[in-house]
Amino acid sequence: MKRADHTLLVLVVALLALLVIGLLLPKWLFLLTLSLGKGLVVLGLMLLLRTGLVSFGQGLFYCLGAYAVGSLGQFFGIKDVLLMLLTGVVIGSVIAFLLGFLMAKYRDIFFAMLSLAFSMILYGLLVRTAALGSTDGFNVAPPTLFRRPIGGEQHQFALFALACVLAFVAALVMHAYFETPLGRLSPAIRDNEIRVEYMGASVRQAIHVKYVIAGALAGLGGALTAMTVGHIDPDLAYWTTSGEFIFVAILSGTGSVIAPFLGAFVFEIIRTYAYQYSPNTWQLVVGSALLIVIVFLPAGLWSVFGHLRRRGSS
């Protein structure tokens, strides 16, 4: 029998739980908001992974989204949070749409390396652009919602709540998308492209669409991160940032649309504490954590829930 789909229920519970946690533990707000931003990027990456594509360059769209937000405030004086987020999404999807014509022709390591190359081009450009602060980047002023401040030290909860809603909607839409005919093409393309074409669907077009969706989500995540952190620099496009997203994706697993957010949060916690307690060897701790997950939970953190459910039902 097909297991009943509880994703909507779990999402609603997670949303409410997050809001309560945010209210009770204001010290965690920064880390939680940051995790939601990165989770959005990983959600897009998960879509590509399900299609059998590893993008080693989601940092490109992440950075573009962040710089779009920063530039709006810095150069145009626009601080409306919704407009800023929208700009992040638009710039992410437009650039992904343009690059998609080339990217959709490549697979495997070539897809990964080409995406990496594009993100490093952006990094190189930003490092040399004095108007955007070169390697130092610049600060992002706290945004406003309907002329009232949101984010920053005092209004962190409002921005967090907005991030929660965005993540909720994105996860829900992605979950519904997986059930549509186009969404179902993802695992089909991963398994057998030839058959997809011989069923009358265009693999290249499908990949292009998925690449744009992933770009839009990364742009949104970047925009959110810029507002949360209040500072942006070219490192957002550096290959280690993109690698971090893949790291989180592997940590989370591609089993559920909720997994990326959980994975991003676990990653941030591990990193924060590792950095706090062993500033010189924190990478070692993070790496070991991933190793443990790969060995014991090859399908990612999310598979823990599957194991628990099976144990509970038997």
Binding site: T180, P187, N192, V196, E197, Y198, G200, S202
Partner: protein, 266 residues
Amino acid sequence: MTPILDAQGLCKKFGAVTAAWGISIAVEPDTVVGLIGTNGAGKTTFVNMVTGYLKPDTGIISFKGRDVTALHPRQITQLGICRSFQIPQLYDSLTVLENVIVALGIVLRNSKPRRLARTPKIVPGHGTTLMAAAETMLARFGLAQYRNSPAGVLPEGVRKLLDIAVALAVKPEMLILDEPTSGVSSDEKFGIMDTVMNAVRSEGVTVLFVEHDMEIVSRYSKRVIAFYEGRVLADGAPAHVLGDPDVRKYIVGGQVAVRAEDIARA
């Protein structure tokens, strides 16, 4: 009756090897055609040219009066020719049911106005019609018991059936089967062919099938086309073609001789 498929003067060379040497075949709608010939005779090359995988060096292929010679496999599939493969091409990590749902989803997406098809549906349970159609397909092919098994772990005979089922799920007007019973045990082969032919009959699909097994060919085809060295050697009713002296000498006889050799060796 006007032919549904009309191939005229197809030639194809691979370097020094000529795989097709002026093949002309017209197929009437709603019939079952068996393609026979030894390995390298040009059957699969012909099938690959019709389905757009290979482009003929010269010659024209028209389907329903439309020139499809230069079209991509995807476009030819959309026009109504679908095929199965000698080695089943499935989505191995997906279940049997999901394999069929992907096919039905593509058909749904291609048939609807694009704007509608792209709108994500968030209404719960919207997939029920697709699911029901897929279940019907599985029941018709006797695959219902495997519905939740990943396609990658199925026995070869079941994979063959599923491969044909997904091809038929795309709702073709012409179905091309490349050796539907190869690699399948001899007790399974008639079962597969009976299932396929019953399913095809209810859909009114024209069938072309490549086959080495003369028992299958004589039992299921209404017309047989014999290939030899890239040419059509004989074409007509099964009894006529299988009784043709040249066909007996080069194709059918060859098969019998090989079998005798095998027995002698054993």
